[in-house]
Symmetry: C2
Subunit: 353 residues, 2 copies
């Protein structure tokens, strides 16, 4: 028996192609013969409803296929159960893994995730932030943000903010960073192997993380009193970019025996370039990467690299954010550092005698 669902009015002839009207609390209330507020209470798990009433309401809601209207709720409460995530390139495994970590934590919390890809462009980033704020996101995770400190402070006035891979003077702004020390270990490792002539292949030109890593390499060498590394920067952060960068280094300073890179992609490209010149890795030149992507163990030769628990990185960022969002979450930690470790494989070896 086809059940006719009562609508308030204007129950236009359903021409078959139109979308069915989705049920509202009002309809549930009428059908279940309770007030609209009681329906609301049931939907919000308010304990102050009799089991019988709750059951009745749930039944009706079930058969009608009721689904709470998030925007309506957001309008009145000011909270959307949604967070925003900004990243600079989702095609990059590093970021996609961050997204995964954030996504998992978000789902655990019963939240939704609005994603924006800014392409490392500060203007796009600002537009995205506005867009997300317009959506009334309860919080924002900014990964490799290109914004200025005061711009971020400004955003933090309107929403809780967590920064990935960047610190911020404003104590309202939370952040989670990769342990800077990690690249030091890589450099030390090469020093122990006897290397003295270093090359460094850099990452995104204006990125903070890129700068920190480059500095880390320089610092360790300086501390040991060795000569400065030759730095190749401005190349695309890709296998191809690493290839070109390595060729440039080999042209300019052929005596290098150890190459430290911003990430695994560059390292792979660098190894290719070395091999293309008839040289061998690691016999002639050692190369170390950063990230430990899932195929780093499967390159030729297997890549020595700094292993970063990227998923945990994203997961942590989201947890920090929810710590801020949750009522009484003010006493949760405001920052975190993700520990990394060096994975020694076969792309590094003793310097030639």
């Amino acid at each position: 028996m086809a059940q006719k669902i009562a609508t308030t009015s204007g129950d236009k002839e359903n021409d078959g192609t139109r979308r069915p009207r989705v049920p509202t609390m009002k309809q549930i209330a009428e059908e279940a013969k309770v007030s609209i507020k009681t329906v609301s209470r049931v939907m919000n798990n308010d304990p102050a409803v009799k089991e019988a009433t709750r059951g009745k309401v749930m039944d009706v809601a079930g058969t009608l296929g009721y689904r709470p209207n998030t925007p309506a709720r957001t309008l009145v409460t000011g909270r959307s159960k949604t967070i925003g995530l900004l990243i600079s390139d989702i095609g990059n495994y590093f970021f996609s893994e961050i997204v995964k970590g954030v996504q998992v934590a978000t789902e655990e919390e019963g939240y939704s995730l609005l994603l924006c890809d800014t392409g490392e462009n500060p203007d796009t980033e600002l537009r995205c932030v506005d867009l997300l704020l317009g959506h009334k996101v309860d919080g924002l995770i900014l990964s490799s943000s290109r914004l200025k400190d005061d711009q971020i402070s400004n955003v933090a006035k309107y929403s809780d903010v967590v920064l990935c891979n960047r610190t911020h003077p404003d104590e309202k702004v939370r952040s989670v960073c990769i342990e800077d020390n990690a690249l030091h270990l890589a450099t030390e490792h090469l020093i122990e192997l006897g290397h003295r002539h270093f090359g460094y292949i850099g990452g995104p030109v204006r990125g903070r993380a890129a700068w920190m890593r480059e500095e880390g390499c320089r610092e360790v060498l300086a501390r040991h009193g060795f000569e400065k590394p030759i730095v190749a920067s401005g190349f695309p952060v890709s296998i191809e970019g690493g290839y070109e960068a390595m060729n440039w280094i080999l042209d300019v300073k052929p005596e290098v025996s150890a190459i430290v890179t911003y990430n695994d992609m560059l390292a792979i490209g660098a190894m290719k370039a070395v091999q293309a010149r008839g040289l061998k890795v690691p016999e002639d030149i050692s190369v170390v990467g950063f990230d430990d992507l899932n195929f780093a163990a499967h390159t030729n030769p297997p890549l020595t690299t700094v292993s970063v628990p990227i998923f945990r990185f994203g997961y942590k960022a989201a947890q920090l954010l929810f710590g801020a969002i949750r009522p009484n979450g003010d006493d949760t930690p405001h920052s975190d550092v993700i520990k990394c470790h060096l994975v020694i494989r076969s792309s590094t070896g003793k310097v030639k005698a």
Copy 2:
């Protein structure tokens, strides 16, 4: 001079840590001495406003830092300028690249993107769909959906739907697929090289795409009257899984000379396993992958694989969706097929005499 912004009422003592009240159209209207509807018109680029008025409103909006309240607009219009995207594993390059394609198209359209990762779980997928529908998304892209046809039909009643890599009988449901023929080419290529004993390493066990590819391989062999391939399935779709699968095949049927795989990750693992046994690729065994991931050209040996323009895949899916969403978009195409081609590198060669 600090400007005091007038608020309607209840201008509570700002205790310094509270969020500032965000301006509304009403405030803009008062400040600019126009009606709230005029502000609305300006914000919606209604041409029927005098330039002078528009300028005045824009000015006030600018200084007050006005930002339209999306949920409020959504509540009244029923449209959120947001689409939902469901994928099964964002850590997988294939999906992250789809996300990228969708994201770019979405941004071009001035829309926002809600992302869910379902982990290939139909229940999670259903929950996510409900969540997104609750957000009033204007459309939904389902990538490798595990839902049943009628479940999808049901979703399509409430929102425009585009399927990635799956067709659907319901004509309301749009879809974009990878050309099934692609894997045929790979198999034919191996046949031309003289191979007769095939192995196939399969993908996700209940996935449609996985099944189509496996069938494609079988079909081509059958057409040529060659023996059936030995099929390794149920292994994790990863380098490690490929490694194990290949070992299994080598144990069970050592005479295989050609391996077709569901994707590049499996192919890389397979090559590893072959090499670990002291055999050579392609001299002893040829291997072909699928996807042409960015590092497929850099494996050892460089991988022969079916190149899939994944970005375009996602981009197309979003375009199809916006075609449906846009008013008068009914006459736009309802499905599309993404062409692939075989990239012959060095992991395939003539069969040993």
